[in-house]
Amino acid sequence: MTAAVAAPGAARRCRSRGSRSTLTRGSGVALGLSLTWFSVLVLLPLAAVVAAAAAGGWSRYASVLGNDQTWAAIRLTVTQSLGVTALNVVVGTAIAWVLVRDHFWGKRLLDVIIDVPFALPTIVAGLVLLSLYGPRSPIGVNLAFTRYAVFGALAFVTLPFIVRTVQPVLEELDADAEEAAASLGAGRFTILRRIVLPALAPAITAGAALSFARAISEYGSLVLLSGSKPFQTEVVSVRMLTFVESGNEGAAAALASVMLAIALAVIVVLDIVQRRVARRG
């Protein structure tokens, strides 16, 4: 068949792509502008923080990380953020699924409300949580000054991320492939695991990265309800603010660069996981 004969050439062209630059003059200028903007906005400040942290040498790092209170804050922030992200992966995907695949009364309203935690100023979110789960809770649930408060606040503000990244991908997902799998004998769970999840993996990972990044940086929504008790409910951003307020900017920078490394590590791990899932099927 002629179509079969023509294909190897096409594949060879595919393989060679990516090795050579395709920049034209216009896109070269655009790339230059965006890199400059990105540098001014992101890379230079980051470099400045790392430089400020490094100025104190390893001993500064050692003293910051050796501080039990700081270490407890890092542990709390990272574990709570990972926990919240894991919860969002499940709940966020489920909400996106319901919003795309099911039809029910109030669906439009739910679709709009999903964004509220994201749109609210974080301190307002904190106030909302405090009024419902604080000491004067009308429903009798008092989470104030506990780790549940940290978890709840993080879950509240990060809820929309995975929903909003998965939703459009799910909408575009080809229902044919699922029907094909069904007629080949695959049950609902197998279809979900082998056909749907690999297609959603990149979106879920992107949402998880956003959710984790937001969680480790959260301040406003949890500061009211958690009470920021040292060794118990104090998160990194609160600890850092304490450093800055007490004039210890070097320690703040060291802590900041540690958080930067953690964020990078998590993003890389998520990317690896995503590639695995997308290929496995």
């Binding site: 068949m1 029907e179 069904a182 007629s183 695959a186």
Partner: protein, 339 residues
């Protein structure tokens, strides 16, 4: 009988996609569901596959009542118009999918996938991703995937609809040969009458949610049940309240036969080897006549000339639909159909 569909009705809101449809499809044959878009043929196929549940009626596949059976349990192979490939799996793993789901031992899966890829001429592409294949290759992969589970029936929904004309024709011939090799009961949906006439053993004409006629390509062409079937299988014109093929109209330059109708030639078109004459009878009927160029030349036809038209002896004709209704407007004889 391999597939037995009885009194199937399916509604989507107010729209009746299938209206009390009954049809039986014989074992081992290659059957076409032919009809215009939106006529219900794809819905019928999806009901047979279990991808759509009917509001009323029953479906039996190989003697088992499949009406309430999930698609997973029907043992049908389904091929989609837009291939429905599993994008993240290689060609070989796409084909292996149904076998893996059935927990077939690995060595056996590998053997079977190899055989099938050979059958659809894709052996050298086993480790490619579907995105690296052409449309025709993807559809052959989808076919191999559907055949892997050894289905009792193979259902194809406009399988060549998304392909260009040349590949379409190649695949059509190839499907016919494949069917002669594999002998699985096959039903395919198409809106292309040429495709149906060329490939199928039997054609089911579906229109407006109903079955218009069932028969072999010859039966449908030579003895159409009504003007719809006749019009759908080829070009038609009307003369004296009868619908017939334009090449079955005889044109004479003098009044000879009793039934001949007087008409004025309004247009003479030469298209390739044939000549197409448009004429208006004194009763105001627009008639299309198709003849060979040689014949047209001997008659020395010019526009404005008076001629006499009659149905050729032995011509197949059916009664014209009464009134303007009946959906005959797209077959208005005054408008020459695309050639």
């Amino acid at each position: 009988m391999s597939i037995d569909v009885q009194h199937i009705t399916k509604r989507f809101g107010d729209f009746v996609a299938l209206d009390d449809v009954s049809v039986t499809i014989p074992s081992g044959g290659l059957t076409a569901l032919l009809g215009p878009s939106g006529g219900g043929k794809s819905t019928l196929l999806r009901v047979i596959a279990g991808l759509e549940s009917a509001d009323a009626g029953s479906v039996h596949i190989e003697g088992t009542d499949a009406t309430r059976l999930a698609p997973q349990k029907r043992n049908v192979g389904f091929v989609f118009q837009h291939y429905a490939v599993f994008k993240h799996l290689t060609v070989a793993r796409n084909v292996a999918f149904g076998l893996e789901v059935r927990k077939v031992p690995r060595a056996q899966v590998r053997q079977k996938v190899h055989e099938l890829l050979e059958l659809v001429h894709l052996s050298q592409f086993a480790d490619r991703m579907p995105s690296q294949l052409s449309g025709g290759q993807r559809q052959r992969m989808a076919l191999a995937r559907a055949l892997a589970v050894e289905p009792s029936v193979l259902l194809l929904d406009e399988p060549f609809g998304a392909l260009d004309a040349k590949v379409r024709k190649e695949l059509r011939d190839w499907l016919r040969r494949l069917h002669d090799e594999v002998h699985v009961t096959t039903v395919f949906v198409t809106h292309d009458q040429e495709e149906a006439l060329e490939v199928a053993d039997e054609i089911v004409v579906v229109n407006g949610g109903r079955v218009e006629q069932v028969g072999t390509p010859d039966e449908l062409y030579d003895a159409p049940a009504n003007d719809f079937v006749m019009g759908f299988l080829g070009e038609v014109t009307s003369l004296g309240g009868r619908v017939l093929r334009p090449h079955d109209v005889e044109l004479e330059t003098g009044p000879g036969r009793d039934a001949a109708r007087e008409a004025i030639v309004t247009r003479v078109l030469r298209i390739g080897f044939e000549t197409r004459v448009l004429a208006e009878t004194v009763q105001g009927e627009q008639v299309t006549v198709v003849m060979t160029r040689t014949h047209a030349r001997t008659l020395e036809l010019v526009e404005g000339m008076t001629v006499w038209l009659s149905a050729a002896p032995g011509a197949v004709s059916v009664a014209a639909p009464t009134g303007a209704a009946g959906g005959s407007d797209e077959r208005d004889p005054a408008v020459p159909l695309a050639v």
